[in-house]
C-alpha cells in the first residue's frame, strides 16, 4: 500500500475552512484515497473516498489533482466538534485483487478547533 504523509497537527477556529493535505507519491493506478475521522476512545468514522478530481458529500470535499500524488480534505466552516484525528489512507481496498480490505493507517493529523 502507498505510504502517506500528512501534517501531525493543525489548529483552526470555528467557522473557518480547514484543508488537510496528504502526500502519496507512490500511489498506484488501482488505489483509492479514503479519509477517516477519529474521536478519542472511538473507532474511526468514514468521511469521504475518491479516485480522481473532486468528490463532495454532506460533510467534506476531497480534491485530487491529475497526477494523484496528493489529495486535500476540505472541511467547510469547522466547529468545536470537528476536533479529532484525521487519517488519509491509500490502497486498492481489495477491489481488483480480491484480497479484501487491509487499510493502513498512519499517525494522522490532529485537528484542534477553538472558539
Amino acid at each position: 500500500l502507498a505510504k502517506t504523509t500528512q501534517p501531525i497537527s493543525m489548529d483552526s477556529y470555528e467557522g473557518q475552512e480547514v484543508n488537510i493535505t496528504c502526500s502519496h507519491n507512490n500511489i498506484a493506478t488501482n488505489d483509492y484515497i479514503t479519509w477517516y475521522q477519529q474521536f478519542p476512545s472511538q473507532g474511526p468514522r468514514f468521511i469521504i473516498q475518491g479516485y480522481k478530481t473532486k468528490v463532495t458529500n454532506e460533510v467534506a470535499s476531497l480534491f485530487i489533482p491529475a497526477d494523484r500524488k496528493s489529495s486535500t480534505l476540505s472541511l467547510p466552516r469547522v466547529s468545536l466538534s470537528d476536533t479529532a484525528v484525521y487519517y488519509c489512507l491509500v490502497g486498492d481496498m481489495g477491489r481488483l485483487t480480491g484480497g479484501g480490505n487491509k487499510l493502513t493507517f498512519g499517525t494522522g493529523t490532529q485537528l484542534k478547533v477553538e472558539l
Binding site: Q49, D92, M93
Partner: protein, 115 residues
C-alpha cells in the same frame, strides 16, 4: 439500526493470560476486520474475515487468532499476553469484501490493559 458492537468495552489482564474479544457487525454485513490501535498511533490491521473465511492477515504473531461465526459475528483471541498488547482493539464491518464499493464501519473498541 445498531452499529458495530464490541464487548467487553474495557478489560484488564496480566501477562501470560489469554483474552477473547467479541464483535457483532452491522446487520447484513458479511465482512469483519480487526485492528489494533496503540496509544498515539493509527489502527493497524490484524485480520479480515468474509463469509467465515480468513481473507487477510496483518503482520501479527501467531498468538493472535480470530474466527467468524455463521451469523457473521467474530471473535479475536490473543494468547500469552504481553505488556505491548495493551491497546484499543477495533472491529470493523463492511457489506462486501472490499471497501471500494462500500464503507468500513468501526465499533467503539475494546480497551485492553495488560499488567
Amino acid at each position: 439500526d445498531a452499529g458495530v458492537t464490541q464487548s467487553p468495552t474495557h478489560l484488564i489482564k496480566t501477562r501470560g493470560q489469554q483474552v477473547t474479544l467479541r464483535c457483532s457487525p452491522i446487520s447484513g454485513h458479511k465482512s469483519v476486520s480487526w485492528y489494533q490501535q496503540v496509544l498515539g498511533q493509527g489502527p493497524q490491521f490484524i485480520f479480515q474475515y468474509y463469509e467465515k473465511e480468513e481473507r487477510g492477515r496483518g503482520n501479527f504473531p501467531d498468538r493472535f487468532s480470530a474466527r467468524q461465526f455463521p451469523n457473521y459475528s467474530s471473535e479475536l483471541n490473543v494468547n500469552a499476553l504481553l505488556l505491548g498488547d495493551s491497546a484499543l482493539y477495533l472491529c470493523a464491518s463492511s457489506l462486501v469484501l472490499s471497501v471500494n464499493t462500500g464503507e468500513l464501519f468501526f465499533g467503539e473498541g475494546s480497551r485492553l490493559s495488560v499488567l
